[in-house]
Amino acid sequence: MDNNKTTTTTPEPIITLRPFTLADIDDFMVWASDDKVSRFCRWDTYTNKEDLIKFMTNTVLPHPWFRAICLNGRPVGAISVMPSSEERCRGELGYVLGSEEWGKGIAPAAVKMTVKSVFEEMEGLERVEALVDVDNKGSMRVLEKVGFLREGVLRKYSVLKGRTRDLVMFSFLSTDTMHP
C-alpha cells in the first residue's frame, strides 16, 4: 500500500430527475433562451419569462411524465415521455440540456433513468421511441450510448420551423438491454 501518493479526484456529478415547479422558472430560462438548445426543437427560443411561465403552466405541469434533469440538485435540462394517444404500447421521448452541460454524459444518464422509470410506471408501455433530426448528431450519439436502436430515416416526416425535415427513428423496447 503506497501512502505517499496523493490523488485528486473530481467528485462524480450527481444527476437526478424530479418534477418541475414554477420556482424552477429561472433555471428553465437558461436553456429555453439558448438558440443552440432550441435549434432542433419545435419551440422557438424564449425571450421573456411570461411566455415560459405559460409553457410551464400549460404544458409542463399537467404533462403525464415531465422531469427536470438536475445536476447536484440544480435543474440543467428537461426530459419527458409522452404516451401515444393511439397505442398504449409506445411513448415518445424528448429531452433538452443546457449547452454548458453538453458532453458530460448527463443526457445519456438522464435518458437511462427515464427509460427505466417509464417502463415501470406506464402500464402497457413496451416501446420508447425518439425522433431525431438527421442533422442532430449530438442527440443521436446520446441515444446510441444508451442502447437505442436506429430503425430508419422517415423522410419529410415533420415540419420544423417552416421546413420539412427528415427524422431518424430510434427505439428502446422493454426487452432491450441498456448499455452500461
Binding site: 404500447c89 409506445r90 413496451e126 430503425e151 430508419g152 430515416v153 422517415l154 415540419v159 427513428m169 423496447l173
Partner: protein, 164 residues
C-alpha cells in the same frame, strides 16, 4: 379494368363480404363489421364523410377499398397515410397495386401541400409489403412493437412515397 370511385350506401353488400373476412382483416387495427347494421353504420359514419375513401372496382364490381387519411395536426398537413383492403378472391392479380398507383397520383395532384404519403404494413404481411414496393414506396425501416393488436404488440414496416 380497375377503377376507383366514391362509395355509396348501395355498396354495403359488397363491403360486408370482405370486411368480415378474417383473411382480409387479419392485420387491420379496427374490429371487422360482423353484421349488416355495423357495416351500414361504418359506411355512413366513417366512409361517406371521409376526406378520401374510395371503392376499388374491377369491371364495375366493388372488390375492395382504399383510403387516405390526411395528417391531423396543423403541423402535419404535409403528410397523409394510405390503407387498402381487397376481397380475398381478388388477391394476387395486381389489383391493389394498380389502385394504389392511381390513388398516389390522385392525392399528390389534388393536395398541393402533400409531400409525404406513408403506409404501414405488419411485418408478417408480406403481400401488402409487395404491393407497396411495386407501387413505388420505399421501405424506411421496421418500427418494433409499434402497434398493439389483440394484446400482442406487432412490428411494422413503414414505407413512403415522395413527391419530387
Amino acid at each position: 379494368m380497375i377503377t376507383i370511385r366514391p362509395f355509396t350506401i348501395s355498396d354495403v353488400d359488397s363491403f360486408i363480404s370482405w370486411t368480415s373476412d378474417q383473411r382480409v382483416v387479419r392485420f387491420q387495427r379496427r374490429d371487422p363489421c360482423a353484421t349488416k347494421d355495423e357495416a351500414l353504420s361504418y359506411l355512413q359514419t366513417h366512409i361517406l364523410p371521409h376526406p378520401y375513401y374510395r371503392a376499388i372496382c374491377l369491371n364495375g364490381r366493388v372488390v375492395g377499398s382504399i383510403s387516405v387519411k390526411p395528417g391531423a395536426a396543423d403541423d402535419d398537413q404535409h403528410k397523409a397515410s394510405v390503407g387498402y383492403r381487397l376481397a380475398y378472391d381478388y388477391w394476387g392479380q395486381g389489383i391493389a397495386t394498380a389502385a394504389l398507383k392511381m390513388v398516389v397520383e390522385s392525392v399528390f395532384s389534388e393536395w398541393p401541400r402533400l409531400e409525404r404519403l406513408e403506409a404501414m404494413a405488419d411485418l408478417e404481411n408480406k403481400g401488402s409489403q409487395r404491393v407497396l414496393e411495386k407501387a413505388g414506396f420505399e421501405k424506411e425501416g421496421v418500427l418494433r412493437k409499434y402497434v398493439s393488436g389483440c394484446a400482442i404488440a406487432a412490428e411494422v414496416a413503414c414505407m413512403m412515397y415522395l413527391s419530387d
